[in-house]
Symmetry: C2
Subunit: 350 residues, 2 copies
């Protein structure tokens, strides 16, 4: 989907700040009636749909901290920067509709590099049906910083917070987890190999899924509609950005409940299992702490179990308990060990 | 209003990312009924007031580009970062109500430094009656980056765009211009003096106004209410962030009109005139290209002239013409010279 092409280099100063914004956003089309005014004034103007509340979320990605341009193509980076924000909107059970995009960039980036970045942003905006309504482009002394704010709307009664889970509710996960973290491990390894032997031709065929999960993750746009169709209103919801265990703990703390998570229920892709064996990593640790999966984690009342049972997009991975019972992982050997929050940053430092 | 105090140093890693956000935002109070959910979930939730449209704007400030911490106290920086965003909301003739704050910060900043920054953000939020509803805190490889998104609301018919000016409309400015740029020149000069002689005790008494305009600017919160009271609906509006001439050109291009700006009408503070003499700078050039004044520039129909005439907050500085007549400065000597857009960045490079 994304290819790199050789292009000539135009320096940012040739266009100037205003010229640059105009140039980068000239292909962006407005798709939503609620977008009254997009880029081009002091602020964007957005109309509220009737009886809807607005959800707002923001995320900042920093070169050298959240991404490494030696293996992250700029087009993928633009795409991912949008997706991670939309994921937060979907985690409120809301529909995403607008984003603003601010970038700080050093002059080592030519205009053509920013065009790649914005092409990725535009692709994501097109696929997820989002209007880019504003932003800021500025110089930076070093590196690239991307800050995106996403806006969405939902009916008041449909919005799902982290705080509504009740004891006995079922804990449900979309898709599978751990792949994005392992994709990063493969990419980091290849980077080291490349440093030693720049002529090496890596064979990454057996890692396609996990690398794509790292470089071009998708947000769970369709889950709100699926749940609506199944007539299931989640009692709490969060997206899996920092790692499954960390997100479960957020729901438990915000909802004042405990949890039993079953190790044998955690959905893992076969590539995750195979790569964990190759890297001699414990797949459950990777699944719990890996992060960047952008799946949705939510709780539903046990009454709703028949509605979700057997759905290929949803896996029941545990159930909530009284707060006093604590938060636990029930292992395959049927031992009960406390859940601890270890995001992927923490894991990397080990 | 702002004082620095010596404090011990706590490293950011001692608190961790989640601990840091909780710590920095624990004193922030929610003031608006429309803020349904602030910090603490995947996204903030905001209710729309009846018949209101939402305005959204975002700005990014980068260390070494937009601010220099050798003379910009962190508390002032936090304050200014909020103000520059609110200014864009007010420039839509809207009421600002919420902001999100994202920062990227290197570990050379102790937690106490971030507390200072957030104290400034909180002070601005309190003075301008704003809720801080979300944000992101992340590490950076170098320096400090602050990205703020501001949200506001206004009745559809009250929102003022850059595009509504008509030929013969009067061009009106709040306050005065040029001071923030000159304040920066004084601070830059003192920084150089300090480098040569660190024991020098600068006497900055005669620069208090221009330095305050640079370090702690205010946004024109009250103008929407003033215009409403005077029963004046501007035909176009913009805030003066890049420089008066640049903003006039934005209005002209968006409204497809020309303009005559009268040099002798441009409001200058006496400190601006005195400091221009001292620095041997042309005060009109400084006023036109200085930027960072955060005044509002707007156009009104000539019929509204009696309503604004003599108002101490408002100065008529020119009038709009047919587009074909072009954009001009009418000098004190009554010569007509074309207006050119030169933001403060451009001026610095001269």
């Amino acid at each position: 989907m994304f290819e790199n092409k050789d292009t000539s280099r135009t320096s940012i100063s040739q266009l100037g700040e205003f010229g640059l914004i105009d140039h980068l956003t000239k292909n962006f089309k407005i798709k939503h009636e609620t977008t009254v005014k997009g880029i081009g004034d002091d602020a964007a103007v957005i109309a509220s749909e009737k009886d809807q509340q607005l959800v707002v979320t923001t995320d900042m990605l920093v070169e050298g901290v959240h991404f490494d341009l030696s293996y992250m193509p700029l087009k993928h980076l633009g795409y991912k920067a949008v997706v991670v924000n939309l994921s937060d909107v979907y985690a409120m059970n809301a529909k995403a509709s607008q984003i603003t995009v601010s970038i700080a960039v050093s002059n080592r980036f030519p205009v053509e590099a920013l065009e790649e970045l914005y092409a990725g942003i535009e692709t994501a905006a097109s696929i997820y049906n989002i209007d880019v309504v504003g932003g800021d482009t500025t110089s930076s002394t070093t590196g690239l910083v991307i800050s995106i704010t996403a806006l969405g709307q939902a009916k008041k009664d449909n919005i799902v917070y982290r705080s509504g889970a009740k004891a006995n509710d079922l804990l449900v996960l979309t898709g599978d987890v751990g792949a994005a973290y392992l994709g990063l491990q493969v990419l980091e390894r290849e980077k080291q190999v490349f440093k030693v032997n720049p002529k090496s031709q890596p064979d990454l065929d057996k890692y396609t899924y996990i690398i794509e999960r790292q470089l071009k993750p998708e947000a769970r746009q369709g889950i709100a509609a699926l749940l609506n169709e199944l007539e299931v209103q989640p009692t709490s919801m969060i997206d899996v950005s920092d790692g499954l265990s960390s997100e479960i703990i957020h729901i438990c703390k915000n909802s004042k409940v405990g949890c039993n998570l079953y190790e044998d229920k955690i959905p893992l892709d076969p590539q995750v299992i195979a790569t964990c064996e190759e890297f001699e990593l414990d797949s459950t640790t990777v699944a719990l702490s890996g992060g960047e999966d952008y799946e949705l984690l939510f709780t539903v009342s046990t009454e709703d179990f028949p509605k979700i049972k057997g759905n290929p997009h949803l896996t029941v991975i545990g159930h909530m308990t009284q707060e006093s019972e604590g938060m636990h992982l029930i292992t395959r050997a049927n031992t009960k060990i406390p859940l601890v929050a270890r995001g992927w940053n923490a894991m990397k430092e080990d």
